[in-house]
Symmetry: C2
Subunit: 359 residues, 2 copies
């Protein structure tokens, strides 16, 4: 076959295999998971979107203690500020869930979400993180210029051809083409254009983007094993990004109840919801999503909705109650494995891919 596992992407990113760990925010990508994927020959990614700048710096130092290989740090390139209109209505819709979790009701004072993006990105550039990846938009100038000056690679997640062209024009070194199968937040830049995000299946999205851009494309969404890796390369991608598959890895930071929900789920289990954060994201249907939808209330925009639901998600985590956690997951969860180390997952994926390619 003309398909080779070792793509130009590997040389460009100085990695052995074209396999990226998705930068899943919210503590899933522990420093151990990030380092394990990089040590196994892929590119580990720290999901730092919700981390304080000091915590990001500490994590970067930890990762560097665990690996001398390249790794990435992912941020949400969003400068959206809070919108507290209707916050009382939203808090009232959330209070029945709080009661179920034994929490006090919240009346609805305005919330103020600190936008850490500029401080976060300053840490990444200051620490010379090998790869900076963003979701929700492109790394803004002048940060792009600073990153280039520091010889850091910049990757942006895109969900349409238009977004891919914008990322290429802005100077990104590569793009992640996120298909609708993907778990977690949609990378959609402007959700006023696509209320629930642009949800193009990976199979349709990858070749259409590959035909329009010159920079390498990394396929994401529903990719769970070596078959998915080779199929992505056949469609013209130079690599893959896998998130869900690593959520059940031994090093994953996912709560045990979350891991169990993933292992019990099927391709029919997930839905797209804006209820947790105000931005569309794919997760396993649970009590939170059902009750939020039943309320008929429109979520506040990101990041405000995310801020007002945090206490519920935190309580659910403390109580090991998956019904009120955000159970982000893609559509390929029947292919999940348990009790596997990240290294085993990378090895198994690459072995299977090499077999298919007869290498």
């Amino acid at each position: 076959m003309t398909i080779q596992i070792k793509t130009e992407l590997c040389a460009m990113f100085n990695i052995r295999y074209p396999l990226f760990l998705a930068g899943m925010a919210g503590g899933m990508t522990t420093v151990e998971l990030v380092a394990a994927v990089s040590n196994a020959g892929g590119l580990g990614t720290l999901g730092a979107a919700y981390l304080e700048p000091t915590a990001i710096r500490e994590a970067i130092l930890e990762i560097r203690k665990l690996t001398d290989k390249p790794f990435a740090v992912n941020l949400f390139a969003s400068r959206a500020s809070d919108n507290n209109e209707r916050i009382r209505e939203v808090q009232q819709a959330l209070n029945p869930m709080r009661r179920k979790l034994g929490m006090a009701s919240v009346v609805g004072e305005d919330v103020a979400t600190s936008n850490l993006f500029e401080e976060q990105i300053a840490v990444l550039i200051g620490e010379k993180v090998p790869v900076i990846s963003t979701a929700f938009g492109i790394l803004p100038e002048p940060f792009m210029r600073q990153a280039k000056k520091a010889k850091l690679l910049v990757v942006t997640m895109v969900t349409t051809v238009r977004e891919a062209l914008l990322a290429e024009q802005a100077g990104c070194d590569a793009i992640v083409a996120q298909g609708s199968e993907a778990g977690g937040h949609r990378g959609t830049f402007d959700i006023t254009e696509h209320r629930m995000g642009a949800n193009i299946g990976t199979f349709a999205l990858v070749p259409q983007i590959v035909d329009q851009v010159k920079i390498p494309v990394i396929a994401a969404g529903g990719i769970m094993d070596g078959r998915g890796l080779v199929a992505s390369l056949v469609l013209g991608a130079q690599g893959v990004q896998m998130g869900t598959r690593f959520l059940t890895a031994i090093e994953s930071g996912a709560h045990d109840a979350y891991k169990q929900a993933l292992l019990n789920s099927t391709e029919e289990s997930t839905v797209l919801t804006k209820g947790f954060s105000g931005r569309p994201a794919r997760g396993i249907q649970n009590g939170f999503i059902r009750e939020w939808d039943a309320s008929g209330v429109e979520p506040l925009p990101f990041p405000t909705q995310n801020t007002v639901t945090r206490d519920i998600r935190n309580a659910a985590n403390r109580q090991s109650n998956p019904d009120y956690m955000s159970l982000w997951a893609g559509q390929g969860t029947r292919l999940l494995t348990s009790e596997q180390s990240a290294e085993d997952i990378v090895d198994e994926t690459i072995r299977q891919a090499l077999l298919i390619c007869d290498e």
Copy 2:
């Protein structure tokens, strides 16, 4: 590469290439298109769901004049009867569109959709159509037994692993795994379970089904060229079904205005709607869909909604007004070509696939 274009499916169906034409209903699959795909080495499929039994028999005779190769006829395996509750409300929501098309308003008498399925299937078995394929459900007993007795191959479209297992248990010879990228109607068996259909991306759906069934799986949804064919085989499918790609073929029965809308569309152009037929289907967003959604009226169940909107779609076709046609399309329309014969499309797809596989 261990991937071979000539799969067991080719021997089973006595075709040269594992490429099926989707059985697109509504006059898209002309007898010329069906025969051309079969003559080119694929499996042509007549979309006969809306055809009178006599018209199906005539079409089968025509196809047999044009090719001695195997072909399929596709039907909707739905025995749903009309539901006229709320028909006045629905007709009132449709009347503004009728006015725009210069049509008289409709008050809202009950409609009676003749369920032709049993007569249609009798023609297929009587004429010994080589392949019977169904959407919306499995060929019911005793038809399945009759088809087997007549040595006809039976294929069912599925959208989930559960549906795939039901089809295998019912004795289907192969299944079409329809990913969310696909254009036209979702094959979902029971839309009370998934209001807008189960929409699993092809990339996630195919390997999860392949791992669970023994019968051959044909991938569908977003497959537009040789890359899509080989990627499907890599994911474990034994063939592909392509619909949208053939809509702009010279032999396609699609209205010129429809073809133009397809060629002008992008991966962002389509939406899922129940407005045309009462069943979820993917088509290019147009005036009909926007105005129907704006009405806020819940569509009548299939087939009633399909029956009450037919006059509007027919008038739009007569007036060459794509804004009120059902512009079914998948998510891969940037890969469409124009002025190509079906034979050219099959040849180009196979040539590209063989190149990738180094055959």
